[in-house]
Symmetry: C2
Subunit: 477 residues, 2 copies
């Protein structure tokens, strides 16, 4: 059975080699595959189904806040990309250039969008005339291209899927409010759907988005103690508006520049799910984002009545995303497969169970086995999915807390970074030189200046000068 | 009121200039806009919301037949595109070429996918080993690029959104069955959701897809009597499998080539909706695909209780996609706007209506006004949406029938093509020379050899030789 063999080979243990463990899970859970195009990935059904869950649920949250979806061209003429100085400097070195259309060379070369600020600005410059046209709260789901040198499935690839929201507002206050609102939508989504706790905060000048006035971020901690930037929300002020001439007449008939924001989340989130929740048996999917929430595994399925009972259970559980594994593989294979693919729980049911009017729920997260009367499967299944969702969040939160340290001296700071993977909270003077030194010396970066500030000491952990902000530091993906 | 002005200017009458009418509707219903990238369009919220309805509902139909979604890279290396001879000849002249990644020239240039057969084949060649791996029934939702010379919103643009299904099967029979199955999914979707009748049939050799053994199509008739190819399904036989080496070991352990299909539908469907159902007041959306199914227009909304009643109605109708227009525009403006945007029906409610415990439903398709007791709005709304859906289909079918002609002689054929826009059924000898002559002389093309064949005469309408097939001919978009 060639197909099964792929699964039996144990995957690398995460404690032995986390990077290899990650690659093994991605491969064995059939989430994605390499393609003939270097640095681009093929997202396979099991991986894409997770993205569909993310997309559907996040999109619904967007729409509750008034977001409307649109679709912009995938190409950006070079002259358009160059209109905002910081932005072009940030992105030009890593874009793919189209130079020919059909058999003809293009008059002006175009890049494949690395992000679409410039296209939205160009559009808004035509679309917005009066205060009545504001706000514009548009979003698109698409793929973008960034010509990265080193790539890893879901975490960094030359093409990836994302959503990018681009908004225009009458006032600076409205833009700032939307920037924070969307950051909160992201943070809530990670907590409530992906069961991932995050630290919310602002990026430093050095780490902010090319062209933004302020970048806000949610930072999550992976199982290996490395940080993953999981979503960002940018306030552009009126910088792009001035570069692109996006003006409106206000109620007093005066011309004003709009204030803009953008915010995005990507297929990187699938990498976060893997690295926050997974273990040596494979993926663990939080119930809310699991494409298959329950797999029913019939035991001794050739015995009369077993498969029928399994199908009957499936039909009774049709409020959930449920599947019967009625293939001719052995139950043991099916169990491993459920585990590798991260199905939140499986239901085992065999002739003996049927005789005793029961079945067994086996949790993926704790491996706990729970006998359930066949009269109660619907309510017990609903309860268990809720419990797993909560417990997975609590486990991730406990891990994050256990791996968040505070340092007040340079020695302490270095020691923690070098020996204790995790977030390190430390004071900072606000000077980029200290950030640069920390990056060079320790390969750690400022993750964010968290909204919840603490005063750990009066001095910058790096230079000893007067401290301005408490910063989360860490090594990151 | 700058915003309102856009709407008052009457649009061009469809009888005066159909092409201009189409452009006016696209613009005034705010479906899409031109962009800085020549030949590429911006799909605006009202247009994209229609695409979301199409995508959600069509995707659900796909999944019922076992389709799984994936995502492939948007780039195709030149050597990969060249692997299947007919395919590269068909597409190479109209692709966009990427030659640089970041600051470096690429070792091999890549095109932006015009369609993804080659990528799926390359993937399947690795993925498929045994008969146990079959069938593969994968689909992706994405955008594709074809460097067209002349473009029109939704109908022909350099980038457009679509879905492309790519399947691999053990036998020729399985592949043919899937090809026809998906054509039927498309035809049913147009009939049941878009209220558009179609003719199902096979494309001639001349008109089939580059690399296909057989192409099947659904052809719809627009209001101006021109045909629109609305969806195609291709049977590739084992041609691509041989070019790409996609083989599996069968149950007898023998190596076999797979048999493949592909099938696609695009944002072109939005063009079809406009041109089949629209009138001189704008769009008319069939209820099932309308992003807003009902707009409630309060009359004398400043009078006490009117807006409250409108919101109460909205809440009671929350099973439908319903909106209250509570802007400060006049009711007349709001009516025109509902009409321009194609909302299936509006509900007018004012102080007098409330006094009499009633409201008025106004149908977009027939403009009929219906008094409805406030006690019955839920059931009456559901009934009316059903009725409108059915009536719109019947109207489109009547139009198609009234504009389908039969010709048995060359003179008759020419006369009909030149003077009576529509489908012309006529016999054909099977020789491409006749198709070429008809195209050159009359600018008409073979739309399809319909599944429902009739014998109109024994002779080819063009050359008089013995006829092989009855063909639908017409001028087309």
């Amino acid at each position: 059975m060639a197909n099964d063999k792929k699964l039996v080979e144990a995957i690398t243990s995460m404690d032995v080699d986390f990077a290899q463990w990650y690659t093994d899970v991605v491969k064995k859970a059939e989430l994605c595959d390499y393609s003939s195009v270097k640095g681009c990935m093929i997202i396979k059904p099991a991986g894409y189904a997770i993205w569909e869950q993310i997309q559907t649920q996040l999109d619904a949250e967007f729409k509750k806040t008034g977001v409307e979806n649109v679709y912009m061209p995938m190409f950006i003429p070079e002259s358009l990309l160059q209109k905002e100085k910081d932005h072009v400097e940030g992105f030009a070195p890593e874009v793919a250039w189209v130079t020919h259309g059909g058999l003809e060379p293009l008059q002006e070369r175009m890049c494949v969008r690395p992000t679409s600020e410039t296209l939205f600005c160009d559009f808004y410059a035509n679309e917005i005339q009066s205060y009545r046209d504001l706000p514009k709260v548009y979003n698109q789901w698409c793929s973008v291209v960034r010509w990265e040198k080193t790539t890893r499935p879901f975490l960094r690839s030359r093409e990836f899927l994302w959503q990018e929201g681009h908004t225009a507002h009458a006032t600076a206050e409205d833009a700032e409010a939307r920037t924070i609102q969307m950051l909160n939508v992201y943070a809530d989504f990670l907590r409530d759907v992906l069961a991932i706790p995050v630290v919310k905060g602002q990026k430093t000048e050095k780490e902010k988005f090319a062209g933004a006035e302020a970048t806000y971020t949610i930072e999550a901690l992976m199982h290996d103690g490395k940080a993953l930037q999981s979503g960002t929300s940018h306030n552009f002020g009126d910088g792009f508006a001035k570069a692109f001439g996006i003006q409106y007449t206000d109620k007093e008939n005066k011309l004003q520049y709009v204030h803009q924001t953008s915010w995005g989340m990507t297929t990187r989130l699938i990498g976060a799910i893997i690295m926050v929740h997974g273990d040596d048996s494979g993926l663990k999917l939080p119930p809310k984002v699991a494409p298959v929430q329950i797999t029913i595994v019939p035991i001794q399925q050739k015995k009369e009545g077993v498969l029928d009972k399994a199908y009957e259970l499936r039909d009774r559980l049709s409020n959930f995303r449920v599947k019967v594994d009625d293939t001719d593989k052995s139950p043991g294979w099916k169990f491993s497969e459920c585990e590798m693919r991260g199905v939140p729980f499986r239901i085992e049911i065999g002739p003996k169970d049927i005789e005793n009017n029961k079945c067994v729920f086996v949790r993926r997260d704790t491996r706990e086995k729970i006998e359930v009367s066949l009269d109660e499967v619907e309510t017990k299944a609903a309860e268990l999915l809720d419990t797993i969702q909560k417990d997975m969040y609590e486990a991730a939160l406990a891990h994050q807390k256990a791996h968040t340290y505070a340092a007040t001296t340079w020695d302490e700071f270095c020691n923690i970074i070098e020996t204790k993977p995790g977030f390190v909270k430390a004071m900072w003077c606000g000077d980029q030189a200290c950030e640069d030194k920390i990056k060079e010396t320790l390969a750690a970066t400022s993750r964010c200046m968290p909204f919840e500030q603490e005063c750990l000491s009066e001095k910058c952990v790096c230079c000893g000068n007067s401290a301005k902000k408490m910063v989360y530091w860490g090594r990151a993906y």
